[in-house]
């Protein structure tokens, strides 16, 4: 099955990491671990990954990075007191899309 999205790891350096024209052309999604999702087989997505020197990951590799971050966050949440947990839902598992 043809994939819809591609993934990379890139650290958001702030201004200019994603500019307005890039954001108006394609949809970006960010995930824990500096994982970014952009459309697959898309010129603008490929150009952006090159611009930010993103490290391209397969979906499984990206999922492993996200899982590790989520697990760490869940562990930290589990260590909170009951009072602290009241207003903070436990971080949910995240499943990346193909």
């Amino acid at each position: 099955m043809a994939k819809t999205y591609q993934y990379c790891v890139a650290e958001n350096w702030g201004k200019g990491f994603i500019d307005h024209v890039e954001s108006s052309r394609i949809t970006f999604k960010s995930y824990p671990g500096n994982v970014w999702q952009v459309p697959a087989y898309n010129k603008h997505g490929n150009l952006w990954i090159a611009k930010v020197a993103g490290s391209v990951k397969t979906k499984d590799e990206a999922q492993a990075i996200v899982d590790a971050e989520v697990t760490a966050a869940q562990t930290a949440w589990d260590a909170l007191s009951d009072e602290e947990k009241v207003d903070n839902p436990r971080p949910a598992d995240i499943t990346l899309e193909d």
Binding site: G14, K15, G16, F17, S23, T27, K29, P91
Partner: protein, 603 residues
């Protein structure tokens, strides 16, 4: 050849740096960079909300234009009988119930205009397809000659006097049969290459049409030349029970919505291939469609088992705003306060939860955040008003306590001023340092109770004024002062899409957000606002919507979805910062309404 001055009335201006607020279309020469630049607007096709239908309904026939449409028949549990001849007319803003079909039915075909339409086939009663055809003259339906093959869930194309119907089923057997209407009677012509039902079509008349989608070949597209069908390029997103802009043609079509899982996908056809466009705001199937591929209309339909009243309008050439990354906060945090009437290049963030609760204050200059003096009392879930140099920090939670502390910022340091009458957290706010409004939130606890209470600040003290209509917490607010505010979404006991507008005296409930959510951020006034981010317990959303004083329109989402964030600015130039993605984030994003500067090159 005309030169720039003869067209614009002025010579191209030289600047050492780009002008601060260039007009769309303005051209200038940047002496430093030695390049010619101009200001332009980025446009893209997009859906926006239209007026709600009078009846929640699906499986109607739709025809006409975006501003003069008809939907006829359908299934509406609120009506008796539910299989109905109900007919509604749309004028571009409101729906009016008009004279019904003579034979109530659902899943019928329809084509034509709001003054000259045709409806044919469909189920009546359930599971029994009919061949009945009715002609619409702008006022009422008249029965005319039947189709030769009774069917439902067929595709349709053409006009009242030159139409085509194709595919469908008789209640059991799927067919590829095509019939041509000459204004008087139906004649069977060549079949589709692939028989199917729940497909859609469009076309100028009975000699030129397009058939697409349906079951069992949900992506298949075929083109009709007056004699036979030819297979052409597939839809990108195969689907059945979709809709089409019924006034489209065989070379300019629009497909949207569909199932079997409700989808919001929209695609446009250019005569050769399908291109994905911005999605509907509400995923739906079994909806009605009208209009063209540059001005389409989507009405009703279902995310089963619900029926919808909502309408969406598709337009090309919509100015397309977008979020770009900005400089990160020094301290990532959630449930923070913001100087609500700040700007994208002069913002103030204060307080929040790292964790722990913080009093840290940071100032943004359009590029980076700088730490300035802390709040006197660290707290989270607070509200804010004012500007970068004249701000107000309102209420919030000190761990274990919810006082009504108010602090005033003079550009350098915070000073405690008079408390609110009712301490609370996770409230909304609007206005300036000398004219602010605070509303909703949680009053006490645990367990915390949602509040309707509203208080007005005159620069010195808080006064209780009229309550919100709906108690809720986690609601962002925005507005110019204590006479102009908007309370957006919120929570209790579930996330809400409710919007209320404050006129200086009382709250009035106005049209809902497209995406119900809590803990979003907002910018603007009660007639021109932006709402972005938030959570729907969960998931976290990146959704951005624009308020024009009447209704919300979906815009491009945040690049980092998050809730519990801060926001400021206007509908044309806003700022989003901090929040919980998860995890708690320092990310900042800058909204620009689509106005861009481009460097002119000779190549």
């Amino acid at each position: 050849m005309a030169d720039y001055k003869s067209i614009k009335g002025t010579k191209i201006q030289n600047y050492t740096t780009d002008p601060d607020n260039p007009l769309t279309g303005q051209v200038w020469y940047n002496e430093t960079d030695q390049v010619l630049k101009f200001q332009y607007t980025v446009t893209n096709p997009a859906w926006s909300t239209g007026g709600d239908m009078n009846v929640a309904i699906n499986e109607m026939a739709g025809f006409g234009s975006q501003t003069a449409a008809i939907v006829a028949g359908g299934a509406a549990p609120s009506l008796s009988p539910a299989i109905t001849g109900n007919t509604q007319s749309y004028n571009g803003s409101t729906w009016t119930t008009v004279n019904p079909l003579n034979t109530g039915r659902y899943q019928a075909g329809g084509t034509g205009t709001s003054t000259a339409g045709l409806v044919f086939g469909g189920y009546e009663p359930v599971g029994s397809a009919n061949e009945n055809t009715e002609s619409w003259n702008g006022t009422s339906f008249t029965e005319v000659n039947d189709m030769t093959t009774a069917r439902s869930r067929a595709g349709s194309a053409g006009t009242q006097t030159s139409a085509l119907t194709f595919g469908g089923d008789d209640g059991t057997i799927i067919t590829g049969v095509t019939e041509s209407w000459n204004g008087t009677s139906w004649t069977e012509v060549a079949d589709l290459n692939t028989g199917r039902r729940t497909l859609k079509g469009t076309g100028s008349d009975n000699t030129s049409a397009l058939a697409f989608g349906g079951n069992p070949t949900p992506a298949a597209t075929e083109s009709w030349n007056g004699t036979s069908w030819t297979e052409v390029n597939d839809l990108n997103n195969g689907r059945s029970a979709l809709a089409s802009a019924q006034l489209g043609t065989a070379t300019a079509a629009l497909a949207f919505g569909g199932g079997p899982s409700p989808t919001a996908a929209t695609e446009s056809w250019d005569g050769t291939s399908w291109t994905e466009e911005n999605n509907l705001s509400v995923a739906r199937q079994m909806l009605a469609g009208a209009g063209t591929n540059s001005a389409g209309l989507a009405a009703g339909g279902s995310p089963p088992p619900a029926r919808l009243t909502s309408t969406e309008e598709f337009n090309t050439g919509v100015a397309t705003g977008a979020w770009a990354t900005g400089g990160a906060l020094n301290t990532g945090r959630e449930e923070l306060g913001s100087a609500q009437t700040g700007t994208q290049t002069a913002a103030l963030a204060f307080g929040g939860n790292i964790p722990p609760t913080t009093g840290a204050t940071e100032s943004y200059n359009g590029t980076s955040w700088t730490e300035v003096n802390d709040l006197n009392t660290a707290r989270s879930g607070l509200a804010g008003a004012g500007t970068q140099t004249a701000a107000l920090a309102i209420a919030g939670e000190i761990p274990g306590a919810v006082p009504g502390i108010t602090e005033s910022y003079n550009g350098t340091s915070w000073t405690e001023v008079n408390d609110m009458n009712q301490g609370r957290l996770r409230l909304g706010s609007s206005g300036t340092q000398t004219s602010a409004l605070a509303f909703g939130g949680e009053e006490s606890g645990p367990p915390f109770q949602p509040s309707t209470a509203t208080e007005s600040w005159n620069g010195t003290s808080w006064t209780e004024v009229n309550d919100l209509n709906v108690a809720r917490n986690f609601l962002p607010g925005t507005g110019a002062d204590n006479t102009n505010a908007l309370a957006i979404g919120g929570n209790y006991p579930v996330s809400k899409a409710i919007t209320e507008s404050w006129n200086g005296t009382s709250w009035t409930e106005v049209n809902d957000l497209n995406v119900a959510r809590i803990s979003a951020a907002a910018a603007g006034t009660n007639t021109a606002a932006l709402a972005f981010g938030g959570t729907d317990t969960p998931p976290i959303t990146a959704a951005t919507e624009s308020w024009n004083g009447t209704s919300w329109t979906s815009l491009n989402p945040l690049n980092t979805a998050r809730g519990y964030l801060g926001g400021t600015g206007t509908t044309t130039s806003a700022l989003a910062f901090g929040g919980n993605a998860p995890p708690v984030t320092d990310a900042t994003e800058e909204w620009n309404d689509g106005i861009q500067t481009k460097t002119i090159t000779s190549s």
